[in-house]
Amino acid sequence: MFSNFFSFASPQAFYPVAGRMIPWFGWSAALLALAGLYIGFFVAPTDATQGESYRIIFIHVPAAWMSMFIYLVMALWAGLGLVLNTRLSGMMASALAPTGAMFTFVALWSGALWGKPTWGTYWVWDARLTSELILLFLYLGYMALKEAIEDPQRADRAGAILALVGVVNIPIIYFSVQWWNTLHQGASVSLTKAPSMAMTMLAGMLVMALAAWMYAIAVSLARVRAIILERERGRDMAWVRSMVNA
């Protein structure tokens, strides 16, 4: 079984597999998003303190979760590529970065829109917001570094080193609300304790998070297919042509 698994480590073998997977993840994302938004905007009750403006939580929290999760997955793939010297790992990391950056931006933006009615300000320089902003810069720096280095192998390895160094930021973002007195509220959702919010709100958030995850996978697979074609051009132009013309 493992030999089959590793045979997909070749970009050319993975290309058609990725293509077949994309519709599944894409449709799952769409359906889950519909369900999540329905729950979020029609089923979940009005919040006692915040009224209706709290509903942005169904976008903000999943985006924030995904921004951190994608970074970890990206760093994992990059690290694997560094250790095992596999081309596809580096390509996956490259494919994940723009989506991760997008979710980070959405988290920051939706957070700002939420902050205005609730805190009275769009932005505050507390630990969580600052470290989430740093995360955005890390994504952008990673993409810039990969873009600037011409040799793809060197770009993969340099990017991996950068991504791994930036991993220390993720626990800081996550635990910042515990470690410092911040304006941002503490964790209402924990893996160990009961949630301190209504079940429907939690359900909506989780469904949207799942939708975001499916979306991220679908989009990253599509992106990695483009990257595979681009990178294989120099090595095996005939194969690239056959894929494009098929």
Partner: protein, 206 residues
């Protein structure tokens, strides 16, 4: 003692060579021949451990050089295209630093003697900035004349920019090294005959 198996090298999208194997024993000389861009320097760098080959491995005394790290560095001298001298330091200071990097503890007299072998002793106090290309190459090769110089020499175009006198000195230096049981891999466009126990020729880009 030096064994390379199944080496392949890619630069960008081009494959320079594949399935290349090389074995070198004490007193052995390997010449790398090939046109410009055929991968001679790349092969030398792979043997030095600077570049990771796309496939294959290099072993020194049976162990992979990747595992040996600086232990391998202690037993090899790699001198590439660039003379590796700091312009702001004097000839003597540059040589002293090169010796330190190689783990060789050399006295002032020994440094001077090494420079003398390459004919640069009179210029020991000059900053490297004022030297000509040929003089810089002599200084960069001077570390090979130090006592305790390593067993394996990897030289990339050692005769480049040298005049007849310089070429003669380097030839003598390398021949003495090989006679002592040292090993040498060199690339050279110039056809400089170096006497050795065993000579093998590796032609790239064929």
């Amino acid at each position: 003692m030096l064994n390379a198996n199944g080496l392949s090298c890619e630069r960008g999208d081009r494959q320079l060579f594949a399935g290349l194997s090389l074995a070198l024993e004490a007193g052995g000389l390997a010449r790398l021949l090939g046109a410009n861009g055929s991968g001679k320097t790349s092969l030398l760098r792979i043997l030095a451990g600077l570049t990771r080959p796309a496939a294959g491995e290099v072993r020194w005394r049976g162990e992979r050089i990747g595992d040996l790290a600086e232990e391998y560095g202690r037993e090899l001298a790699y001198i590439g295209h660039a003379p590796a001298l700091k312009d702001e330091l004097t000839v003597a200071e540059n040589l002293a630093f090169a010796a330190r990097l190689a783990g060789i503890v050399a006295s002032g007299a020994q440094l001077e003697a090494a420079l003398e072998v390459l004919g640069m002793a009179t210029r020991a106090a000059l900053p490297a900035r004022v030297l000509s290309q040929g003089q810089k190459r002599r200084v960069s090769l001077a570390r090979l004349a130090l006592p305790g110089a390593p067993a394996l020499w990897l030289l990339d175009e050692p005769f480049a920019a040298l005049d007849e006198d310089g070429i003669g000195r380097v030839r003598a230096l390398t021949e003495a090294h090989l006679a002592r049981g040292g090993m040498l891999v060199l690339t050279s466009h110039q056809d400089v005959p170096v006497a050795a126990g065993s000579i093998q020729t590796v032609t790239l880009g064929a």
